[in-house]
Symmetry: C2
Subunit: 248 residues, 2 copies
């Protein structure tokens, strides 16, 4: 069944089930082996890519809705999503459904709540839903063209993630259990999209006081074996809750 | 005219004008002379206080709506509002209108978008709207009981403001043009709700590189006259745009 037909068939039911005028879009950043990607779905029967999105049941709050939508559309489970902004420009989505009847659910004005998360993409199992031809991780440097205002939703999510580096720890579940200072620096550099000074990074990271230096170093390679670190899980959790040491 | 009557009379018109199921609530923090307050309105005909709030016209985005609502409900103008979170718990507002007919606009389920701002409260002119008996600045330490989930919206706004201290400069338009280091430290302490170490504050603030030390000091008083500073407006604006020096 084609995209238009599916949309039309779902319309009546959607009016009954969901809060009108409101949608959710998810920006799922994936990190693995020094590569940053984002999860996108390809709309059935055309070449447009989109952020995974959907609607809010009349009986659920938006956090529950976002997790359900992500699971149904992509198969991705157990991802801790955080809302970050409402996108409400006039005609941000309506024009996309111009060829549809005015009574069709999708042709309403939608204000969309953006959610984001950062996960290790190698641990996520993906499944394609019935409105999509594909669901894939794409490198943030080589994003396909995204429909509607999804590129600007992506951009805002990335800015939010970067700000978060200033008050929350990051890296647990993204780095191997034991890692070197250059490896965690690389994670920061990739998220920030810029090189950082090695000495400054080292000092600032130690001031955070969330790392334990191990009595071992990385073997092999021509250079001096670099020191290995792991996260101090208790301090890391405290910093997640109360903010980083370096914060106010 | 009583509160119930006004709500009922406005209902039909509201269904035609506004996006259903969606509201806005504004947390306006006011600072002046080392006092932190928040702007609240007293609902007509009962003793409940509320954050200034309202609805979104079908023809406006939420930023325009938030500024219009704040202006209409409180008279406050030219306040730079920032959205920070959607509050969507089931029954967060519906129960408040239990005694009304089910078709009344206000009795819907509302998801509410929270906006916040921090201003010098001595510069704001307030006017009371037709749904309110009063519109006042209340000290954050002595808040009256707030209706619905407005206390938790207030709490989240305060947490957001505190986080913001880690990546954005603050104080312009809140402090006098020339100020001492203890005075700006006091601003931070009042927002954070805790004492800060004087030496650490001094070093960190200087690393931000947004202050200019003046060739004059505060006269009078028994102690050594403290140095005066002012903001380097150009660097302050840059930091607003690109984040603080101390950030990543």
């Amino acid at each position: 069944m084609g995209f238009k037909k599916i949309i039309e068939e779902k319309s009546d039911k959607s009016w009954g089930m969901y809060i009108p005028n409101l949608s959710i879009d998810c920006v799922i950043f994936g990190f693995h082996d020094t590569i940053l990607k984002v999860l996108v779905v390809k709309m059935k029967g055309n070449n447009l890519w989109a952020l995974p999105g959907g609607y809010i049941l009349k009986t659920e709050n938006i956090e529950v809705a976002a997790n359900r939508i992500l699971q149904q559309r992509t198969g991705a489970n157990n991802i801790y999503l955080q809302q970050f902004r409402v996108f409400s420009d006039l005609n941000r989505s309506e024009g996309f459904f111009e060829e549809f009847e005015n009574t069709i659910w999708n042709k309403q004005r939608f204000l969309s709540v953006g959610f984001y998360a950062l996960v290790d993409f190698s641990t996520v199992n993906l499944v394609v839903d019935d409105l999509s031809d594909a669901c894939e991780w794409k490198s943030v440097d080589e994003l396909p063209q995204l429909m509607m205002d999804h590129k600007s939703i992506f951009d805002k999510a990335l800015i939010t993630l970067r700000k978060q580096l200033n008050y929350k720890p990051i890296g647990f579940n993204l780095l191997p259990e034991k890692f070197t200072m250059p490896e965690i620096q690389k994670l920061y550099e990739i998220i920030l999209g810029k090189k950082l000074n090695r000495g400054n990074f080292f000092r600032k990271m130690l001031r955070y006081d969330i790392l334990i230096k191990l009595d071992e170093s990385r073997k092999g390679g021509a250079h001096k074996a670099p020191d290995l670190y792991k996260f101090d899980v208790e301090k890391y959790q405290m910093a997640l809750k109360n903010g980083l040491n370096e914060g106010w």
